[in-house]
């Protein structure tokens, strides 16, 4: 099978050369050949959506083959199997880990039509000129390299991007207000003995450790210099606190996949836990109250983007740029924003959302009518507002970004101990 693919590619390349040689009008041939192109994209479940693949086929003509994996598997694949994908849909902290392997190629921002409209977080690091940059692996810090073959990350915009930002959000704790019956305002509530046996945290070390840090800092137990880059002592202290809580039976379970977190919450096994935005949506769409609780200490944020495989070239590379431009053009943005994520170019997404949707999801206004998910479930009724408010309220109070630290290997070993303890 893979041999067949390979030879087809070779044919494509030769075909392109032949086109150049015979000086035929390229666009015509492009239109014919593009139908045969298949780009293989893999990434986490959040943005690997079949609806996107279908729309790509409809709008651009080529085929996008999607594979959804969990964060660890995504890292593993990007780092170890460069020939298994054309487009990697990964998070920025994964990029920090994977870029040095040389499996990805930098992108020329002059070929990105909406580059200037991309939100500041991904370029200068600042949401608004006055914003402070949060701790952790902030996207702009691993977003640029010196040149097409650059190996080191650059401090400022260079015209060569590692990942084109596609999707991001601010994460916090999810709660079941009907089972808690009182306001929750701090991260420290996760370890409150009141919720013994009814709390959960995610079992993905690189993200879980950040949630832990938010909790420990909120409890006043530890002051971190940088939550995204802890020292060994900070790591030890953090795990000591959580191991004690675990042994006291604070946690009902740990979750690793999106579905698990939804089931834990919906079944009432857990009333407070780390959660992702669409998981809240999924619980709500079952008619169960669930709140993505804004907390005083701020959000733990993450961002993802698409990167191109080193082996992409010729027409397939052109197709990939085409795809990126289409991605930022608004349809996907609107789709993702209706799930509670943000798009890298919000203004184009606006064209693909109703005024009510834009007001509810982006501006934090009261809904003027039913708010439905892309699949048609009603998520909010007229008069309700989004948990956490507007885009600037939410993304403006990010306390740290998902990160990979210098002491990562040490942290991972401690994480294994924590799970086994």
């Amino acid at each position: 099978m893979s041999k067949m693919r390979y030879s087809r590619r070779a044919v494509l390349k030769n075909g392109a050369a032949a086109v150049a040689a015979s000086a035929l009008p390229a666009p015509m041939v492009w239109a014919q050949e593009i139908k045969d192109i298949t780009l293989r994209q893999f990434g986490t479940g959040v943005s690997n959506l079949n609806d996107v693949a279908n729309k790509v086929k409809e709008d651009l003509g080529f085929t996008l083959a999607m594979t959804a994996l969990d964060s660890d598997s995504v890292t593993q694949r990007a780092a170890t199997q460069p020939d298994s994908f054309d487009i990697a849909d990964i998070e920025y902290w994964i990029c920090k880990k994977v870029w040095p392997t040389g499996n990805l190629q930098a992108m020329d921002t002059s070929k990105i039509a909406n580059y200037d409209k991309i939100v500041g977080i991904f370029k200068s690091g600042k949401l608004t000129p006055e914003s402070e940059i949060a701790q952790g692996t902030a996207p702009h810090s691993v977003g640029f390299v010196d040149g097409p073959d650059g190996n080191a990350f650059a401090d400022e915009e260079t015209g060569w991007m590692t990942l084109i930002p596609t999707i991001y959000n601010a994460d916090t704790l999810g709660i079941r207000p009907d089972l808690i019956n009182r306001p929750i305002n701090n991260w420290s509530e996760l370890l409150n003995p009141e919720f013994k046996g009814k709390a959960s945290i995610l079992d993905i070390s690189s993200i879980g450790i950040m949630d832990m840090a938010m909790v420990c800092e909120s409890m006043g137990e530890i002051q971190y210099a940088d939550k995204g880059n802890m020292t060994r002592e900070e790591i030890d202290k953090t795990f000591a606190i959580f191991t004690e809580a675990k042994q006291n039976g604070q946690f009902r379970a740990f979750w690793k996949t999106f579905d698990e977190s939804v089931n834990l919450m919906a079944a009432g096994e857990v009333v407070i836990q780390s959660m992702w935005s669409p998981a809240i949506t999924a619980v709500k769409s079952r008619g169960i109250p669930c709140v993505y609780q804004p907390l005083e200490e701020g959000y733990r944020s993450w961002g993802g983007g698409i990167g191109l495989s080193k082996s992409l070239s010729g027409m397939e590379l052109d197709a990939a740029y085409e795809y990126i431009n289409w991605y930022l053009d608004g349809w996907v943005g609107g789709y993702l924003m209706r799930q509670g994520y943000y798009s890298a170019v919000p203004e184009t997404s606006k064209n693909h959302m109703s005024e009510n949707e834009w007001g509810y999801w982006f501006e934090g206004k009261q809904a003027t009518g039913d708010i439905t998910s892309p699949t048609g479930d009603v998520l909010a009724k007229a008069g309700e507002t989004r948990d956490g408010g507007s885009f600037y309220d939410r993304m403006g109070s990010v306390a740290c970004w998902n990160a990979v630290m210098d002491e990562n290997q040490y942290m991972v070993r401690k994480w294994n101990e924590f799970i086994a303890s």
Partner: protein
């Protein structure tokens, strides 16, 4: 000469398959266990660091202990249930048709996948699950029992459910080969039902018990997914240690753990085989 050649040829296909798909991968694992790893890649080396870390970490001993615990308890339950079921099928059911029908009945759960059979316990045992609701409506308990799910209990329950058949089949098989006239002779000689069981049936079923034991022990010791799902990721066994390492790209350390696990299991099987000659069975 000609004969030996044919014998060799007959043995060749299996030898090739075993060499290619069993021996070679194991050798590879052993080799990689001495390699080094960075965060995202592995490099050839000859170092003992992986083993050093493994044997110096208290977590390793804890996790191996947990693995033995799961294996032992599961073994005890599957043996008790498996032996009883096999005994019933072999000696209580007279007609062969019924015997076959009932035996097939035992295999019905195996028509669905392992994972589905395991996960189906989760809604059943949950805090607001069927088990708790039923018990509460009967007035047996006032508050839901939390230990039903995401605990050692649920892990072992799932193991017993998944693996009992591996005990039933070999035991049933050996029991069916016991000459019925021996049972009559025992009865004629005045042995009670219990005496027949202890002095006749159990000794003669030993090879079957041992084969079942090997199945169950190796399956439980090599498992990671049951422990992960049924304990809500809160408990660990050796399999989970390996799978975590693999997920984090630490292949050499995963390989080292795998080698230690493999040796442990092999030693256990060697000890078991000392007690019973299973060749009699084969």
């Amino acid at each position: 000469m000609h004969r030996t050649l044919i014998t060799w040829l007959q043995a060749a296909p299996l030898t090739v398959i075993l060499l290619g798909f069993l021996v070679a991968p194991i050798i590879m694992i052993v080799i990689v266990s001495f390699w080094g790893a960075t965060e995202f890649s592995i490099y050839p080396d000859f170092q003992f660091e992986n083993y050093q870390f493994l044997f110096n970490s208290p977590v390793t001993y804890k996790v191996f202990f947990a693995t033995f615990k799961y294996a032992f308890i599961t073994w005890a339950f599957t043996l008790a249930i498996g032996f009883t079921v096999a005994y019933f099928l072999a000696f209580h059911v007279r007609s062969q048709t019924t015997q076959i029908a009932l035996f097939l009945l035992c295999t019905i759960p195996f028509w669905t996948s392992n994972i589905i059979r395991m996960i189906s316990w989760i809604p059943f045992l949950g805090r607001n699950g069927i088990a708790n609701q039923t018990l509460m409506s009967w007035g047996v308990i006032d508050a839901p029992l939390d230990w039903l799910l995401y605990s050692d209990f649920s892990v072992i329950l799932a193991f017993v459910h998944l693996y009992t058949l591996f005990m039933v089949v070999p035991i049933f098989n050996t029991m069916m080969r016991i000459d019925k006239s021996l049972l009559e002779a025992a009865r004629d000689a005045g042995a009670s039902g219990f005496q027949t069981l202890c002095h006749l049936i159990i000794p003669l079923t030993k090879p079957g018990i041992m084969i079942g034991t090997i199945f169950v022990v190796t399956l439980v010791m090599g498992d990671f997914i049951t422990v992960r799902f049924m304990s809500g990721s809160q408990k660990a066994n050796v399999g989970r240690l390996i799978s975590n390492d693999i997920a984090l790209l630490q292949y050499p350390s995963a390989a080292a753990t795998a080698v230690v696990l493999l040796c442990t299991v092999l030693i256990m099987i060697a000890i078991m085989l000392r007690f019973v000659n299973i060749r009699k069975e084969l």
